[in-house]
Amino acid sequence: MDISPEKLADAYRLMKTIREFEERMRSEYQQGKLPGFIHIYRNQEAIAVAACLDMTNADYIASTHRGHGHCIAKGCEIEAMLLELACKEDGLCNGKGGSMHIADMSKGMLGANAIVGGGPPIAAGAALTAKTLGNGAVSLAFIGDGAADQGTVAESLNLAVVLQLPMIFMFENNRYAEFTKSPKPDGRIAERAGAYGMPSEVVDGSDFFAMYDACQRAIKRGREGGGPTAIEALCNRYYGHFEGDAQAYRDQDELAEERTASDPIPRFLADPRAAVLTVDKIAEIDAAIFAEIDRGFEVTYAAADPTPDKLYTDVYIHYEGRLR
């Protein structure tokens, strides 16, 4: 596998940023300082980062309700994200989207999605744009193991094969959907994708290097006109479904073990391929991350809420004067 020291540093920086960003978010949320529902991505960071590391702003991703990691990996600015998560006027979506609908068109981030299975058809459409324009871009949909059962996912898998779209189906199999353990054995999702006629593989989602390798191949296939790929990344959902869910329904010993065994960050750092990242280099990256997050929160808490007139912007209104 080909990975430059710069890319390695980027990979670490992004995984660590996602981790620290969300840990800080959790604590602010617990203090009642952030609105809505938030879904934490912890222990799945290697998947988003490996998927997006070789992408540019011209490539597309469609995200899910658990989307903070996807956003950061795709290059969304921390401050603009925080402003959105706090639903402020200057947020990425002017506060109208929040955590579950955050999007950044300038980065090819086509939106988190509060409709489970809502993203894959949209990502297929973006892949169709890339194919039609012949610009070599690829499109990737993040899909949970629960979402994998939606009809929209089956339909998109088929469409991507039929139209030979430059698309990647990134299934994040954390083996839970809300409070319910997945009834599907590991690998079943990849098998399904295979049955539609696309190359598919099962990868350890906490192994950054294995993920990056699989993603490089899938992206190359897409860019070269080889059609879609499916990756089933096996992983662990560290926290509850949403912040505030204590996961009482899980075997606590098993969970504790999985939490450590599936943490992608120490695993990445322990890998000989990451040896170029010296202790000093890591400390430098970490310091910059914490500073960026601190600054983001400072700006966010000082920022203005949208004014009431913003309720009526960015929507086609034919009801002028009779709005309520």
């Binding site: 629960g146 329904y249 309520r324």
Partner: protein, 325 residues
């Protein structure tokens, strides 16, 4: 006994499942330990077993469609569509299948399915988890649409829904779940198509449904202190609609404000306004006023969401405007 809407629905499911073996409950997470996201199905799996309380994959089309198919062939399923917004995923099964079987098959078929679903803004859940959508459903011939505003009505209407032979969509407002009131013990049924006069009055009629009925009642309290006697009508069911009660009240007061959390275009508020104009024209002393959400999606921002939904203040302003006409 005093209980919340959440508890009343849970109790009704327990009672109806005990009464009729053909009643099954199905949906996402309904058999989980905490009884789904809001604990509505709490205790059902332990009592009735996992063959009657069925956790499904995340596939609304199949959940609703299979519930309809099971209803067509002898069961009486209560399916959960977690948020009404997910209607987008399963509309064909409701619109083209379940709603039409009885008519399209020449009366051979009955489809006694209940689809319980959560509606409404106020929880900061954003554009895809906060919609109302009942006008869309009420517009479909063949299904009944129910919108309880309190725990007693939730029990009475859900019992009727489960025993009804037609498909029923049962809309639970997420901001009302914890609201408590006195609920009759044991078997309790409320007929469909019979509105509730929540407050009697003589100056103006305020019509609401689901959460807006609660807001209208609050508004009537404030108006009473200002010497205005408002009559509040809670529609309870949108389809069938109790036109008589609305028209009778209008005949008495001559003025009408309709409060509906839906978007204004083709809303229930529009339907009631149309009714008043068509059949109550002679009794109207002022134009009908509608208080609805605006014609926009629901914003995630809490401050804009507050601005978005109908409120007691907006109702009072509408009433005063109507009275000043």
């Amino acid at each position: 006994m005093k209980m919340s809407i959440r508890e009343a629905i849970n109790q009704t499911l327990h009672q109806e499942m005990a009464r009729d073996e053909r009643v099954i409950v199905m949906g996402e997470d309904v058999a989980s330990d905490q009884g789904g996201v809001y604990g509505i199905t709490d205790g059902l799996p332990a009592k009735f077993g996992l063959h009657r309380v069925i956790d499904t994959p995340i596939t609304e089309s199949a959940i609703v469609g299979a519930a309809g198919g099971a209803a067509l062939t002898g069961l009486r399923p209560v399916a959960e569509l977690m948020f009404v917004d997910f209607l987008g995923v399963c509309l064909d099964q409701i619109l083209n299948q379940i709603a039409k079987f009885r008519y399209m098959f020449g009366g051979q078929a009955r489809t006694p399915v209940v689809i319980r679903t959560m509606i409404g803004a106020g929880a900061g859940t954003g554009p895809q988890h906060s919609q109302i959508l009942y006008p869309l459903l009420a517009a479909i011939p063949g299904i009944k649409v129910v919108t309880p505003a309190n725990a007693a009505d939730a029990k009475g209407l859900l019992t009727t829904a489960i025993r009804d032979d037609d498909p029923v969509i049962f809309c639970e407002h997420k901001a009302l779940y914890m609201d408590e009131c006195e609920v009759p013990e044991g078997e309790y049924l409320l007929p469909f198509g019979q509105a509730r006069t929540a407050v009697s009055g003589s100056d103006i009629t305020i019509v609401g449904m689901s959460r807006t009925a609660v807001l209208a009642e609050e508004a009537a309290g404030v108006l009473a202190q200002r010497g205005i006697s408002a009559e509040v009508i809670d529609l309870r069911t949108l389809s069938p609609l109790d036109e008589g009660t609305v028209l009778e009240s209008l005949a008495k007061t001559g003025r009408l404000v309709v409060v509906d959390e839906a978007n204004p275009y083709c809303s229930m508020a529009s339907e009631i306004a149309g009714l008043a104009v068509e059949r109550g024209f002679d009794t109207l002393d002022a134009p009908v006023k509608r208080v609805t959400s605006p014609h926009t999606p629901v914003p995630a921002t809490p401050c804009l969401e507050l601005e978005y939904v109908p409120s007691v203040d907006k109702i009072i302003a509408a009433v005063e405007e109507t009275l000043a006409y």
